[in-house]
Structures are given as structure tokens and as C-alpha cells.
């Protein structure tokens, strides 16, 4: 839109920047707070009033190290990593081929399938952990990395199928056809042309799946007992943990997410159709 002229235009612009600043402060503020509390000496947590001036900020890794070295934390961390990686791989291996089929092959029942996949996103899948555990107990999957990964994969699968489908649609079919006229079999064309071009989109989808699994609390809490993921560990122990530990745990859960978002924001925005000019 053309810029507004005059005083009103100037006020609107100021207003926009102000609003942007306020919302940014709203979003970033709490993160700063928890970061500070996680890295403050333990007494600060109980202190009142809390130090406000930057000069009073003391840096200490006490709380964080207590949290990290507490029993079960490192194991839970390792469990979370394994579950998330497993979910990532499973979702991609099961979902990407389906996405490719949706993008390339017209087949009978395609629309029904697609509609079904879209419809599953309207269901609260996490809740299904409760009935699922009753099966797991029978199959011996309870309290295992695979068990949680399966639930997470079910949660991530519909989105993965739809996203990979969009990614492959974005790779022009003409490119694979060209490769096929120049000595590639159908699979060869997929491997040499479609896959490299789809890789950024697939990577973004994978990272999204990873974060989904990493953050998931309810299912992991229901499906595990002795081998919890990090969120499951924290939520179950939450009320018994001393407050500083809770804060450390909170920051610990937060940090990877922030780093992920920083690394992949461009890919994710492309994925969601958001353009950054």
C-alpha cells in the first residue's frame, strides 16, 4: 500500500513500531526471565524482591548443574534425543513416499486418502496415549523408546505426508521427465533430481517433527515410567522439585527450541508459505 502522508501517517508508523516492540517484549521477556533465573545463584530464586538492575545480576551455573547432574536428567535427555530422532526417521520413511505418491501419481481413492489424512489433524491424537498404553503393556512396548516414538510418529505423520506432498509438488514434474529422457530410470530421476531439490523442504519437515517429539509431554508421561523423556521426567517430578530446579529444567527444555528456530527459520517459513522480503 502507498505510504500514508502527513501527521496521521507518521503517527500510524510510530504506532506500528510501538506495537511491534510491545509484542516482541511480550514474547522475549519471559524467555529472558527464565534464562536469568536458570543461571542465577540459588538464593536469588528465593529472594524477594528480585534484583532488577542489570548490575545486580550475578551469573552462576549452580542451578543448571544441579539439574543436569540430578538422577535421571541425563538419561532422560538421552531418551528424548533417541525418541525424537527415531520419530524423525519413521515419519519421513513412512510419510515421504506417501507424499510423493500424492504429488505425482493420480490414483483411485487419492482424494479420499488425502481427505482422511487432513481429517486426522482434527483429532486429539495425544489423548490416545491412554488407550495405547493398554496395548503396549501387552506387547511389551511400555516404557520404551520405540513405544513413545510410535505415538509421536502417529502425531507427526499426517503433517509429514501433507508437507512432503507440497514439497514434491513444488518440484516440477518436467525435471524428472527431462532426467528420464537422458538416461535415468524412474527411480534414478527421483534420486538425482527430485530428491536433491526436495531436500530443504524435507529437512524443514524433519526438524519440525523433531521439535514436536522433543516437546511432547502428555503422551511421554503416560507411556513411560522408569525411562522417561525429559518433559515426562520434569512434569512428573514437578511438584516435588525445588523451585530452582524447576526453573533450570524449564530453561533446559526451552533452549534447544530456540536454537532450532534460529537455524531453520528460513526453511520453515518457505514451508508454511510465509515470504520474507
Amino acid at each position: 500500500m502507498r505510504p500514508r502522508q502527513g501527521l496521521l501517517g507518521w503517527l500510524v508508523t510510530i504506532g506500528r513500531y510501538l506495537a511491534a516492540g510491545l509484542v516482541s517484549a511480550f514474547i522475549l521477556g519471559p524467555i529472558v526471565v527464565i534464562a536469568y533465573l536458570a543461571f542465577a545463584p540459588e538464593e536469588t530464586v528465593y529472594l524477594f524482591p528480585k534484583p532488577l538492575a542489570p548490575a545486580d545480576f550475578a551469573f552462576s551455573t549452580e542451578t543448571m548443574s544441579t539439574f543436569v547432574t540430578a538422577t535421571g536428567t541425563l538419561d532422560a535427555l538421552w531418551t528424548s534425543i533417541r525418541v525424537a530422532l527415531l520419530t524423525l526417521v519413521l515419519a519421513l520413511v513412512i510419510g515421504a513416499p506417501a507424499g510423493y505418491a500424492l504429488a505425482r501419481h493420480p490414483f483411485r481413492g487419492k482424494d479420499v486418502y488425502r481427505l482422511g489424512i487432513v481429517a486426522t489433524r482434527a483429532f486429539p491424537i495425544v489423548i490416545l496415549a491412554v488407550p495405547l498404553i493398554t496395548y503396549y503393556l501387552r506387547w511389551g512396548l511400555d516404557d520404551t523408546v520405540w513405544g513413545v516414538a510410535f505415538l509421536h510418529t502417529a502425531m507427526a505423520l499426517p503433517t509429514t505426508v501433507l508437507v512432503t506432498s507440497a514439497v514434491f509438488i513444488g518440484v516440477s514434474e518436467e525435471l524428472e521427465a527431462a532426467a528420464m529422457t537422458m538416461g535415468c530410470s524412474r527411480f534414478g530421476a527421483f534420486r538425482r533430481v527430485a530428491l536433491p531439490l526436495a531436500l530443504p523442504g524435507l529437512a524443514a519437515s524433519s526438524i519440525f517433527t523433531f521439535v514436536l517429539s522433543w516437546n511432547e509431554v502428555f503422551g511421554a508421561a503416560v507411556l513411560t515410567l522408569q525411562n522417561p523423556t525429559l518433559p515426562a521426567l520434569v512434569v512428573v517430578q514437578l511438584n516435588q522439585s525445588p523451585v530452582p530446579i524447576r526453573f533450570a529444567g524449564g530453561f533446559f527444555l526451552l533452549a534447544p527450541a530456540l536454537i532450532f528456530m534460529l537455524i531453520v527459520r528460513r526453511y520453515l517459513f518457505n514451508l508454511w508459505g510465509v515470504k520474507l522480503k
Binding site: 500500500m1 506500528r16 506495537a19 511491534a20 509484542v23 516482541s24 511480550f26 514474547i27 522475549l28 519471559p30 526471565v33 524477594f48 524482591p49 528480585k50 532488577l52 513412512i94 513416499p97 506417501a98 500424492l102 501419481h105 490414483f107 487419492k110 489424512i117 486426522t120 483429532f123 486429539p124 489423548i127 490416545l128 491412554v130 488407550p131 495405547l132 498404553i133 493398554t134 496395548y135 510410535f150 510418529t153 505423520l157 528420464m180 516437546n215 509431554v217 502428555f218 508421561a221 503416560v222 518433559p231 520434569v234 512434569v235 512428573v236 514437578l238 523451585v243 524449564g250 527444555l253 526451552l254 530456540l258 532450532f260 528456530m261 517459513f269 508454511w272 508459505g273 510465509v274 515470504k275
Partner: protein, 287 residues
Amino acid sequence: MSARKSSGWAPYGLVAPSLLFLGVFFAWPMYRAVELTFTKADEPGLTLDTINRATAEASFGEAWRNTLLIIAILIPLQFALALAMALLVNGRLRGRGVLVYIFAIPIAISDLAAGIVWFSIFTENGYLNTVLVEAGLLDRPFVFLNITTSWPLAIIILAELWRATSLVFVILLAGLQGIPAEYDEAAAVFGAGWFTRLRKVTLPVLRPSILVALILRTILAFQMFAVVVALTGGSTRVLAAESFRWFNRLRDEHVASAYASFILLLSLIVVVIYLRVFRDAEEKASA
């Protein structure tokens, strides 16, 4: 692709694993949830005892009330905020890339972390109280997280607003950017002011994105669990937390599944309502 050789089976082969997987880990548990709801431990045959056991407790009504209340307030607020954020970012602003990144950060934040973060702010010797007391607005720290008041509900709403608005924001932003500038410009040429343009041009075209965001966000909201636990230790009842409590603490997977079924039912009803409302709005608009 070669002549005469049918590639007929290939797509089915590619799609089959996903169908199989979802059948086992999605469709079957759904059925199982309902089955568990209408049965009881150590007793064959269908029964309503489990449901009765759930409804007998006071926390049943509380959980429903709280869940519905929170969502009724949260969703409209979230959408208003997300829309404002999307409009803000879509306009002329320097540093827009940074802004989009900041606005989108909360997407990667788990509800547990969000609960802990806001707990740290609102707790009795937390930063909010510090600021209020230092500024002289309060004499003593105020116990915000007192479950006998409605403050916890408000804080839960605030925490969710902080955490989950980004998802709606991203969906709406993508929708907004799909609207060609010409629509808005044409409206402006024909004399429509800013608010009119918003109502008559932007929002209608944004309708599909809004519907998608509404469905996704509401379904997720019904499963609200960790935020509540982190903020109130489970004292404030919500449906998903009840499911967890019955499973974890009270060791009754039947009642836990009953709550899961309740959430399922609620989700279905709400989605149908959303679809209806939007379909009627479409028809009215094109009439």
C-alpha cells in the same frame, strides 16, 4: 514409465505403510478408548459404571467448566492477537524478517516450558510481584497462583496466549501473503477505508486460513495439560489433566480413557460446528 507397463500398483505401495501405521496407532486406540470407557476392570460386558465413576467426582464438573471457559476466552483473544501480529508484519516495516522470527519463536516452545516460565513470573516472589512492589503499587507480594481465586485461570490463559499464538500467526500470515495486493488496492481505489477493507476484502479471503487455524488450535487446546500442571500443580482441573490423574495416580485406565473419549467427543462436535458455521458464512457471502 514405459508404454503398456502399468504403474498401477506403485502409488498404492507408497501409500500403504502410512495407512497401516495410522490404522494401528490411531484408529485402533480410538476404538480402544471407547471400549475402555464402556467397560470396567475385571468385569466382562459393557457397563456405564466407569462413566458414573468419572461423573461422581466434583472434579468432573470442574474440569469441564475450566476447560470450556479457558478455551472460550483464549481462542478469540489468540486470533485477535495473531491477526494483529500478521497484519503488523505484512505491512511496511523495517526489520520485518527479524520480527517474523521473534513472533514465531514460541512455536518451538513446549507447553511444559511455557508453564514453568510463567510460573516464574507470577510466583509469590517472582518478577511481577517484584516490579509491582518496587513500583509501589502493592505493599506485599500478591499470591496470584491462589487456586481459590480465578487468577490461575487468567494466568493459564496468558501463558497459552504467549505460547500458542505463534502457530495461528504463522498460518494467518501465510494466508495474508497469498492475497494479491491488487484486491486491497482495488478496494482503496473505490473508496474503502482501512477498516472496511479489512472486513470486506482481507478477512473473507483469509477465511480458509482462519478455519484451518481454528480447528488446529482448538483441538490442541482441548489437550491442554502441562501448562496447568506447571502453574497450579494440578489443583486446577482440566480434562486432559484429569485423564492423566486417573491413569497415573488413581491407576484406573478405564476412567482415564473415559476422559480421553470426552475430549474426542468434544473435538468432533467443535469441528463440526466450525465447519457448519464457515459453510454458512460462505453461502451467505456468495448469496
